[in-house]
């Protein structure tokens, strides 16, 4: 018997027992649908989330200090600093030229005295950086906006400043538009203790959460450079020496998450201490791996149960059709003809159930993706598009279910094939 003839027999038999076929298919669809949905979700977690964070996001950021590294630097996520080491434009160019380096953004901090409008006096740093590249930095705007790149009066307050001024961090908009007097001190030559200050009024145009370095305000680099110039005009003192490094640090963005360690190693060779959440990422990946295994196991158990239902349905069909199988053999059917007939029934159940399951899996994954996205947006955690399913997963789910169904139907099919032709004349 040819395959197409066996297929006709298989399809007719599946259609004859519509209820059983439908229930078996439903079981297969549930199992494969669950597995496909979980595979899509874990794939999204593995690729989209990590990639989203890794490509220019905070987990691929390497912070560079103007200090030499200790020997154990690369074993730690944090700065392991030794003696100061000036960070010049030439050094930044050297870092920029290293393999797998995406961007190098210099950072310049300067100490200031802060006099907010609501009163009080605080001392901390302003953080100057290139506002045009702020999207690549670990800075999240919580309210308002970032200062204009060339502005000498606009600043963004950090959450540290909110804490100092007792502003509720959940209502950051309340500080927008406020003025703050910023004064850069310098120790003058002459009598000990003679200090002059350079003051300017700045307007808070935004509030940010940032992990670039410590400081109360993020400002355009020009503001920080002006403050530094003023500071260098003084004489300094033993307690407040004049800074010698043109930059107080830099933020380096690796090309990808996988390159973070290599880039850190290159910067280590250049003689600078670094920090990067390498071990955090490894931990996240490890946890995602565990989640994958757990979810995959749940889906696999569901699929295994579904496949057992195929084996069960075929065994039931075998016992019901003993005489029919005997007749087919009595009129000349070979063992392999019956084997094909039953295996095609199993394959039919697997492919039909697998197709329904793949579609259901896509719908489930899309719904979960939408729910996750809505949650992220509602909690101001940005938008992460989990929608958009890779074709390979449902396709593999569909074909895999078909293949597994054939395996599950193997024993019933073999038993059917081995039934003796005498069954044709046995009393029913």
């Amino acid at each position: 018997m040819r395959w197409n003839d066996a297929l006709t027999l298989a399809v007719r038999d599946l259609l004859r027992r519509r209820v059983r076929t439908a229930l078996t298919m439903l079981g297969v669809a549930l199992g494969s649908g669950l597995l496909v949905a979980l595979a899509i979700i874990t794939n999204a977690a593995d690729t989209k989330v990590i990639e989203h964070l890794g490509q220019g996001g905070p987990v691929s950021v390497i912070k560079v200090a103007d200090a030499r590294p200790r020997l154990n630097q690369l074993e730690s996520d944090n700065f392991e600093t030794d003696a100061p080491h000036d960070l010049t434009d030439a050094d930044l160019a050297a870092i920029r030229g290293a393999p797998h380096v995406g961007r190098v953004i210099p950072v310049l901090t300067s100490p200031v005295q802060e006099l907010p409008a609501q009163g009080g006096t605080f001392f901390d740093d302003i953080i100057g950086t290139d506002m045009t590249q702020a999207r690549s930095l670990p800075i999240t705007v919580l309210a308002g906006r970032l200062p204009a790149p060339a502005s000498m009066t606009e600043v963004a307050a950090t959450t540290d400043f909110l804490e100092k001024t007792h502003v509720d961090a959940s209502h950051p908009r309340s500080v927008l538009g406020e003025e703050v007097m910023l004064t850069t001190p310098r120790v003058e030559a002459g009598p000990p203790g003679l200090v002059h200050g350079r003051s300017y009024r700045a307007v808070v145009v935004g509030v940010v959460a940032q992990d670039v370095t410590d400081g109360d305000f993020v400002v355009p680099v020009a503001q920080a450079q002006a403050a530094r110039q003023w500071e260098l005009g003084g004489a300094g003192s033993r307690d407040f020496p004049l800074p010698t490094s043109p930059y107080s640090g830099a933020v380096v963005i690796a090309s990808s998450l996988a390159d973070v360690h290599d880039v850190r190693a290159e910067i280590f060779v250049l003689g600078y201490a670094t920090s990067a959440p390498e071990h955090l990422v490894a931990s996240v990946e490890q946890y995602l791996g565990i989640v994958n295994v757990v979810l995959g196991s749940i889906g696999s158990v569901a699929l295994a149960i579904a496949l057992l239902s195929i084996a069960n349905a075929l065994l039931a069909a075998l016992y019901e059709r003993r005489r029919e199988i005997g007749v087919v053999k009595a009129i000349g059917g070979r063992d392999r003809d019956v084997l094909r007939w039953f295996l095609l029934e199993a394959l039919g159940l697997g492919l039909a159930g697998g197709a329904a399951g793949a579609m259901a899996g896509i719908v489930i994954a899309e719904l979960i993706g939408l729910a996750v996205n809505q949650y992220l947006v509602a909690h101001s955690l940005g938008s992460l598009d989990l929608v958009g399913v890779p074709v390979l997963i449902p396709l593999a789910g569909w074909l895999g279910t078909g293949a597994l169904a054939v395996v599950a139907g193997g024993i019933p099919s073999l038993r059917a094939a081995q039934l003796p032709a005498r069954e044709a004349v046995v009393e029913a």
Partner: protein, 217 residues
């Protein structure tokens, strides 16, 4: 067909004990006997559904004790044709497809087998019932489909197991007439197992099985 000294047991029960039987080419033999006399077992052994535990069965020059696996399936497909009391039609297939199945098992192409199946159904006077499923046919019609299927691969021997057992008198007569005429037309031998003397009387020779042995009647 030549059967010599065939013995067969199911557990402790001896069903056949030294059965000898001959059927010449083109002959018509009726095998009678009470229920449990071993008629169906004899038919199963001659038809290659089972292998005899003792003795020899030779049909068309083929010794069945030397056949196994695919060779035995080939024998069942090409040398013999079965007609069962329960018709043995596949409920999911139409009358035409049931006849075609025997040809499909022999690897005959779709067009050729369809033409042959139509021809056979016409020969058993079911020309207008080709697309009907068995459930839409009467008992007599089903048995005629089974006869057409048995003849599909031009066998040398037709084996009919109580072919009229589930039919009324009229339908039984039609089926027996058909078997008789088709035997002549197709030049095959016919072995009918029956407990009905009316059926047996149509045969050239009839024998009776009792206690696993043949008793001339």
């Amino acid at each position: 067909m030549r059967v010599r000294g065939v013995g067969h047991r199911y557990g402790a029960v001896t069903v056949l004990d030294g059965l000898d039987l001959d059927l010449p080419a083109g002959g018509y033999l009726a095998l009678m006997g009470a229920s449990g006399a071993g008629k169906s077992t004899a038919l199963a052994l001659i038809g290659g559904l089972e292998r005899p535990q003792r003795g020899t069965v030779v049909v068309g020059g083929q010794a069945l004790d030397r056949l196994a696996g695919d060779a035995l399936a080939d024998y069942r497909r090409r040398t013999v044709g079965f007609v069962f009391q329960h018709f043995g039609l596949l409920e999911t297939l139409t009358a035409l497809e049931n006849v075609e199945l025997a040809l499909a098992l022999d690897g005959v192409g779709r067009m050729e087998r369809r033409a042959r199946a139509r021809e056979l159904l016409a020969a058993v006077r079911l020309g207008g019932r080709e697309e009907h499923r068995p459930s839409a046919l009467s008992g007599g019609e089903r048995q005629r489909v089974a006869v057409a299927r048995a003849l599909a691969n031009r066998p040398r021997l037709i084996l009919a197991d109580e072919p009229t057992g589930n039919l009324d008198a009229t339908a039984a007569r039609v089926v027996l007439d058909l078997l008789g005429s088709l035997r002549s037309e197709h030049g095959c031998s016919l072995l009918v197992v029956t407990h009905n003397p009316v059926v047996a009387r149509r045969a050239d020779v009839s024998c009776e099985l009792a206690d696993g042995r043949l008793r001339p009647s």
